[in-house]
């Protein structure tokens, strides 16, 4: 049976709590990297870089009509695409994963109408 002094027990609890906080922070990261924007063709943005990105959610509407599309991919630190873009005309989640990179969302270059972007969001 392990016996700890009160001070040792408190110190141990602090260590455990801090370990949990920092481990959780490392595992759970997310970012809204676009919010409330009007996008014309080729407008876009990318998130910050992080490891184990596990999704890129794009919420938008064709507020001005037509069938404008939003596209998604992940990019490396040189800005090079890690996979081929996927494009949709309505909100969706890019279900692909990358070990390290940034999420990227943009309005397709062929769009003839603007669209209203509620958000682009990624997490790990």
């Amino acid at each position: 049976m392990l016996h700890l002094s009160r001070r040792s027990a408190v110190a141990l609890c602090v260590v455990i709590v801090l370990a949990g906080v920092f481990t959780g922070a490392a595992l759970a990261w997310s970012q809204y990297y676009v919010q409330n924007a009007t996008y014309w063709a080729n407008d876009g943005n990318r998130s910050g870089y992080n490891s184990n990105l596990a999704g890129n959610a794009l919420s938008f509407t064709n507020s001005w009509g037509g069938s404008p599309q939003m596209c998604s991919d992940y990019v490396d630190t040189n800005g090079q695409s890690l996979n081929s873009p996927v494009c949709h005309p309505y909100g969706w989640i890019d279900n692909r994963n990358v070990s390290y990179g940034a999420a990227h969302c943009w309005a397709d270059s062929g769009n003839q109408y603007p669209l209203y972007v509620n958000y682009c969001y990624t997490n790990n």
């Binding site: 009509g65 081929s84 958000y119």
Partner: protein, 206 residues
């Protein structure tokens, strides 16, 4: 599991907040002059999907699919528990990747779960009648793909990628095609049962 649920809940809450902000902003914002000058094309309600609706729901949903259903339900602001009991396998044996699954959200919209994309038909209908699609998404190991939900009034879909015709398989209200990941341009034409057509172009180069 607790963290997963907390994150889902947080994501749903954040989604609701952002949508609320977006709606408030949309109703009160003054859009750009150029945007206002474009005449709006009204969206149309999505038509029936009889074949998909008649498929049996799965008694056991594969773990990866169940996880994706949870994520999509949070994104779509629908009941995840109901969604998870309403999952159908709509397309299997598609070659390069896993099957395509669907469920209906609590507003009656078809939602699709597949390897590349998770998406639902929008509440307000679609501007290209009777079809909602995703295209692209290949990588070094996998071809790109075209996945679409189509309603019963769609008679055919013809896909061309970089000038080459690509066969489109249509079954259970889900259309599917594969093409090289490095493709640059796609064009598909939807033909309706009344003979009318709509054509959509997409820049796949990024």
């Amino acid at each position: 599991m607790r963290m997963t649920n907390l994150r889902l809940a947080a994501m749903a809450l954040a989604t609701a907040c952002v949508l609320g902000i977006g709606a408030a902003t949309a109703s009160g914002r003054s859009a750009t002059k150029d945007a206002n000058s474009i005449a709006a094309t009204p969206n149309q309600p999505f038509g029936p999907t009889a074949a998909l609706d008649h498929l049996p729901t799965l008694g056991v949903v594969p773990a990866e699919v169940a996880s994706s259903v949870q994520r999509l339900a949070a994104f779509d602001a629908t009941d995840a528990t109901v969604a998870s009991h309403n999952v159908r396998l709509v397309r299997g044996g598609l070659g390069s990747r896993d099957g395509i699954y669907a469920f209906k959200d609590n507003r009656g919209n078809v939602c699709v779960v597949e390897a590349v994309s998770l998406f639902c038909n929008p509440d307000g209908g679609t501007s290209t009648p009777g079809i909602n699609w995703g295209i692209g998404g290949g990588d070094a190991q996998n071809p790109s793909r075209f996945v679409a939900i189509y309603s019963d009034d769609v008679a055919g879909i013809a896909l061309t990628v970089d000038g080459n015709s690509v066969p489109v398989s249509m079954r259970n209200n889900i259309a599917y095609a594969e093409f090289p990941a490095a493709s640059q341009q796609s064009q598909f034409t939807v033909t309706y049962i009344d003979g009318s057509q709509r054509t959509i172009n997409t820049d796949l180069a990024g």
